[in-house]
């Protein structure tokens, strides 16, 4: 890496740094969401797409299955959190 070509962040104002910080935070959040979507696609592909692949599209039952798969995964997630919360209360 050529250090001469590196951008000098130290010359930025506080407001600029803050702006970049916010940008970074939202980019990280977006990345996090995308990673979860990758994980869920993996899980739901296994659950919903079985048998021979004969089309590049999702048929309606596969589409419904994928949506349900996500919804129930979220339910599971929330239910686990809720239960943990109860355990902690005891």
């Amino acid at each position: 890496m050529d250090s001469q070509q590196q951008v000098d962040i130290s010359k930025l104002s506080e407001a600029d740094k803050k702006e970049l910080n916010q940008f970074l935070t939202s980019a990280a959040q977006k990345s996090q969401i995308q990673q979860t979507v990758h994980h869920l696609s993996d899980v739901c592909w296994k659950k919903c797409i079985s048998g021979k692949i004969s089309s590049g599209r999702l048929d309606s039952s596969e589409e419904t299955c994928a949506t349900n798969c996500v919804e129930r995964w979220m339910d599971t997630n929330l239910s686990v959190l809720k239960h943990l919360e109860q355990l902690r209360g005891n």
Binding site: D16, L20, I33, A66, M74
Partner: protein, 113 residues
């Protein structure tokens, strides 16, 4: 390749900021694409090449392209379902500030559909 590098050294804060943002977006898009390709590879190999022969047959080739389109369609469906659920949950909890940002994420990894 220099991280955050540009061909001409510059000190204009606006340009510095834009360069950093652009670099960041490109890195993120690349990482996202890499994850997607990795998963497609894994699942479509499983689905389309049950017993690897000496070459990929035309039938397997067709299966691979259909599988790829299907995986991307699944990704899009999952993404939409997840994002709308998260938005709904965060609304339920009273926070609303993320909803707009969430909606802007409801886009495909590519725009072909």
């Amino acid at each position: 390749m220099a991280l955050f590098g540009s061909s001409t050294p510059n000190n204009n804060p606006q340009e510095v900021k834009n360069a950093i943002k652009l670099q960041l977006q490109q890195e993120a898009a690349m990482a996202n694409a890499r994850s997607l390709i990795g998963k497609i590879n894994e699942h479509c190999y499983d689905a389309c090449i049950p017993s690897p022969g000496s070459s990929v047959s035309p039938k397997e080739e067709t299966c691979l392209s259909q599988c790829m389109e299907k995986y991307i369609a699944t990704w899009n469906t999952v993404s939409k379902a997840y994002i709308s659920r998260v938005a709904q949950e965060s609304k339920r909890l009273g926070g609303q500030e993320n909803t707009i940002a969430m909606n802007s994420l409801a886009v495909a990894p590519n725009d072909q559909n």
